[in-house]
Every structure is written in structure tokens, then in C-alpha cells.
Symmetry: C2
Subunit: 217 residues, 2 copies
């Protein structure tokens, strides 16, 4: 039998969540964002970005960690690679910047030794970056992206890759104060393009080939 790849998924309650200083969006509007993208494209060529799919379980169902900005917009943690940067290293850098503790002093329960380990895990980039599950292409300086490079597009403006991130049994996440970190079940994402957009709402289909081993405490 062709066996599916097994992914260990730990309960949300295994993880510890703290806060850190706000991490503001670089752009205040979609127009600003596309304009900045254009300027960067002129300097560096195609933008390459990486995002992480961090999984936890609740009630034996996989949930994905999403960062919520304001009351509606959700995104995966990640961001733009520096020119020439390795994808795995770049994603570790971005995850540490978005969700890692900046310094052990920010870790709550300082007395509690294991928490220091968790924060160090994120600081030192011991995160295990797993399988690439999707690649999206932006043909123009517009919001629309496609899961293929459309025919006749010879100079796409962005290539975005989504990777599974294998969390260990314990992690400490430091969430920027202006953001919320939500654990959203696959059944909420599925077929919900209105709420989560085309990239996030089809993650359940992209993860369906994995077998999630639900580990309980």
C-alpha cells in the first residue's frame, strides 16, 4: 500500500502563548502594498515569499495557526525572502521574527525552566520546516494569484511557497500585541474563500494527503 506521510499533531494546550511588542504592517493599504512591490521588483526582480503552516489539534481535528490583523483579515506567518536567501532559512527567520520570543526576558513564567527552552527553540531556529504544500504565482502587480504560472506570463511578479512546519511537543509563541494568533479548524477553512481568501481556504485540500496523528497530552 502507498502509505500517507504521517504528521504528528499536538494539542493546542501543549503550547504556551505570550505577547511581544507590536509588529506593524509595512503598508496601510492594498494600493501602498502593490506600489512597494513594484519598487522592490525594479530593484530585485521577482518577489519570493514563504509562509508556514503550523498545525495543532483540538477535539482530534487539525487546526492551523493564523495571524489575525484587525477583526477580519487573517494571514499565515511568513514573508519575503532576501535576495538569494535559502527558503528554509528565510522561513525560519520570518517565523522567529513573527512568533519567536525576542529575548528570554520576555518569556512569562521565567521560573518555569521548560518555557525558556521553548523560547530558545524559536530564537535559535530549531523549527523543522517540512514539505512544500503549495506554490502561488502573482502574474501582475495586482492582488490576484494563481496556483500555476499562467500561460504567456514570462515575468511573474511574485512566487509564494507554503511549507508545513513541524512543531515539537512544546513551543512558546510570542505574539505581537497588535495581532491575534488563532487556531482555525480545517472544517472552518474549507470552502470558505469569502472569509479566508483563495490561498488559505484551499489548505485543507493541500493537506488532505497527509495522515494527521493526533497526539493527546
Amino acid at each position: 500500500m502507498v502509505s500517507s506521510k504521517v504528521v504528528n499533531t499536538y494539542p493546542l494546550s501543549s503550547y504556551t502563548f505570550g505577547t511581544k511588542e507590536p509588529k506593524m504592517e509595512k503598508d496601510t493599504s492594498v494600493a501602498d502594498r502593490l506600489a512597494r512591490m513594484k519598487v522592490n521588483y525594479m530593484k530585485e526582480g521577482m518577489r519570493t515569499s514563504v509562509e508556514g503552516i503550523l498545525l495543532v489539534q483540538e477535539h482530534n481535528h487539525p487546526h492551523i495557526l493564523l495571524l489575525q490583523i484587525g477583526n477580519t483579515f487573517c494571514k499565515l506567518p511568513g514573508g519575503r525572502l532576501k535576495p538569494g536567501e535559502n527558503e528554509t532559512e528565510g522561513l525560519k527567520r520570518k517565523l522567529t521574527s513573527k512568533l519567536g520570543a525576542n529575548s528570554p526576558a520576555l518569556v512569562p513564567d521565567w521560573e518555569d525552566y521548560p518555557h525558556i527552552c521553548y523560547s530558545l527553540a524559536l530564537i535559535l531556529g530549531k523549527l523543522q520546516i517540512g514539505e512544500c504544500v503549495a506554490i502561488w504565482w502573482r502574474p501582475n502587480f495586482e492582488t490576484i494569484m494563481y496556483p500555476y504560472c499562467p500561460p504567456h506570463i514570462t515575468k511573474p511578479k511574485e512566487c509564494k511557497k507554503l511549507f508545513l512546519v513541524h512543531l515539537s511537543e512544546r513551543e512558546y509563541f510570542a505574539v505581537p500585541k497588535n495581532l491575534k494568533l488563532l487556531a482555525v479548524p480545517l472544517f472552518e477553512l474549507y470552502d470558505n474563500v469569502q472569509r479566508y481568501g483563495p490561498v488559505i481556504s484551499t489548505i485543507p485540500q493541500q493537506l488532505s494527503r497527509f495522515q494527521f496523528k493526533m497526539i493527546t497530552n
Copy 2:
């Protein structure tokens, strides 16, 4: 850099298409189909089915081979496994039954030696079954399926797996006379759930992680 898996994709014109005797659907209505599913479930338990994603290229864009029944309904080639049957072997059996030449006598251009090889490739099951790209679950004896087993469903009624099938440079396909074999571009499938349904319309997202190497004649 994490490199994407490369999939060789040959031009549609590399392949030869003939016809064979009609292969009728076992059921004449959705209600009949679900009723038969129920009867089989009582005898054999959960239905496991396998379907193949066969890729070709035209104009440097990947196309998927779909079987069209009547004027609208499209499906992937594949079908139900026998109890205990190996997934790879079962999919080869189904592909041979749906698209393989029954006997060398059915091959057109009998004089043309390579065509015999192509037909033999399908007859002898030399097809290379590749990566599992999606798994869909049917929780009830209903048409709706999900890309995960919904929480609280302990006895799903069907598990359907989609596999990439790596075609070689030359193949001969014998298409049942009551069906049409269509090469549908990814851009036509994408975001087109109305026409192709939830399973087929999200294949582009599931294939996005692969790098298609377009091979020309």
C-alpha cells in the same frame, strides 16, 4: 533551496488515441449510485477508491485528461478497489480497464510497431503511479465529500485517493466509445467548481507544488 519535485510533461500530440467498446456507468442515477454504495458498504465496509491524474502539455501549460460522459459530467479515470487490493495495483487495473487497449488487434496502425508498444504499456500495467496528491472522505451515503474526515465521523463511507500518474513519452489510449477523453488546462479547472465539482476543480492547487518540465517533440 528546497527544490520542487519535477514532473515531465509531454505534448498531447505524443499520444495516440483510439476507441474501444462502450463502458457503461453501473448506475443510471445518483440515487442508484448511493443505494449501490450502501449495499456494498454492508458487505465490504468502507469503499476505497483511487483515481489517476494523467498530465499532458499543450502550449507549455499542463492539461489533465478527463473522461467526459454525455455533454457535461467529467471524471478522472479510476474506480473502486477490491477488498484488500493494493492501491497502486488497483489504480493500474482501473486505468487499464478504462483506457487500455483490450487486445493488440484493437490498436489502429497495426503496422506501426511503436503503437503496439504503447498499447502493451497500458495492457501490462507499466504505468508509473506517482504521488498521492489528495484524499477525500465521504461521511455519509450522500454526494458531498470533504478533504478531511469530519470530526465525530467514526465510520466514513468512502475514502478516495487521487494519484499522479507519470506517463511515458508515448502511450496509446483506447477510449470507450460512449466517453470522450478531454485534455483540460489547469487554468480552466481552477476556480471552476460549478463545472468540475470540488474534487477536480482544486487539482491545480494540489499540483502547484510540482515543477512541470514541459517537454516538446
